[in-house]
């Protein structure tokens, strides 16, 4: 299934970001649109069935209207979204490869109460990526018991 949600991630240097995301996380550049001067107008990367957009700060101003799209590198390493990436297997190796390519690991791979093994990393400009791999199918009751949290499938009152 192709998701209707495509996160678009903004960088000071999108061309460097494409190379880095390929080397560190194993994403593949699937579409690259550049203008006369070689600047990235729009780029897409794929990973499994997932897809992200990669763009330049302000670079898509005409398309975006008065939005202010900035890299975390321009905002004291703060971001307004992050991206969860589902892995089928090999999360520890994935983390090791990312770290070797320069990712800053902010949370080492660890099993979570909701039945997934998760690690978190910062990319070359400070965007946060959260990788998770399912390890166990748990019911909501199991998760509640393990965490002490209340878990429902609807909006709170």
């Amino acid at each position: 299934m192709v998701s209707p949600f495509t996160p678009c991630v903004f960088y000071r240097d999108p061309m460097a970001a494409l190379r880095w995301l390929e080397a560190a996380f194993g994403f593949e550049t699937s579409l690259l649109v550049t203008d006369d001067s070689g600047r990235v107008g729009h780029a897409e990367m794929s990973f499994g069935e997932g897809r992200i957009g990669v763009g330049e700060e302000w670079g898509a101003e005409g398309l975006l209207g008065p939005a202010k799209m900035r890299s975390p590198a321009s905002l004291d390493c703060v971001g307004t979204q992050f991206i969860r990436v589902a892995l089928e297997r090999g999360i520890d190796d994935h983390c090791a490869k990312a770290e070797a390519a320069g990712a800053r690991i902010t949370q080492r791979p660890a099993d979570q109460f909701y039945g997934a093994r998760v690690y978190r990393a910062l990319d070359l400009e400070g965007h946060v990526w959260c990788f998770d791999q399912p390890i166990e199918d748990l019911s909501l009751a199991d998760m509640e018991k393990a965490s002490g949290l209340t878990i429902t499938e609807r909006l709170p009152a």
């Binding site: 203008d35 307004t80 979204q81 991206i83 969860r84 589902a86 949290l149």
Partner: protein, 148 residues
């Protein structure tokens, strides 16, 4: 299933959940709170695809409300249905429409809006199959690699 799931950060995630339900028709799949009734985590869905709604849970995350409206990422939504009707629903729920629905050279009809805390969303419906050659004819000067 390997894939990407956007996680959007809000100062008031409970209000955001209601807003995303009203404006975009997203449905809550899982909502987690602590013993004191505090927000922990939420996932919402469109079709079978998920998005996370989160709060400012670590120092590297802030709502656009705290950043003068700046965004470091935006989320694009591809609809099966009518993008113009989606836009009217969002507008009625309080979305600020940044760009009205307009058909783009690459065959999508797209509108863009800001949500209740200033996150930008781009919502599209495919209305025409456009080949790489057609796209290049329409916008001279572009160089396109990988158009399929």
């Amino acid at each position: 299933m390997a894939g990407f799931q956007p996680s959007v950060i809000y100062q008031d995630p409970k209000a955001a959940m209601r807003w995303l339900q009203d404006a975009f028709g997203l449905e809550v799949v899982i909502y987690i709170e602590d013993a004191a009734g505090g927000f922990v985590h939420c996932q919402m869905r469109l079709g079978e695809a998920l998005i996370s709604v989160g709060e400012e849970w670590a120092e590297e995350f802030k709502s656009p409300l705290q950043l003068g409206g700046k965004n470091t990422q935006l989320t694009s939504i591809t609809l099966d249905g009518d993008v113009d009707a989606h836009c009217e629903r969002a507008r009625a729920a309080g979305a600020v429409i940044v760009a009205e629905p307009e058909t783009q050279f690459y065959g999508d009809r797209t509108y863009r809006c800001r949500d209740l805390e200033g996150h930008h969303w781009s919502v599209s419906q495919s209305v025409e199959d456009v080949s790489r050659e057609q796209a290049l004819d329409r916008v001279p000067g572009l160089k396109i690699t990988g158009w399929v």
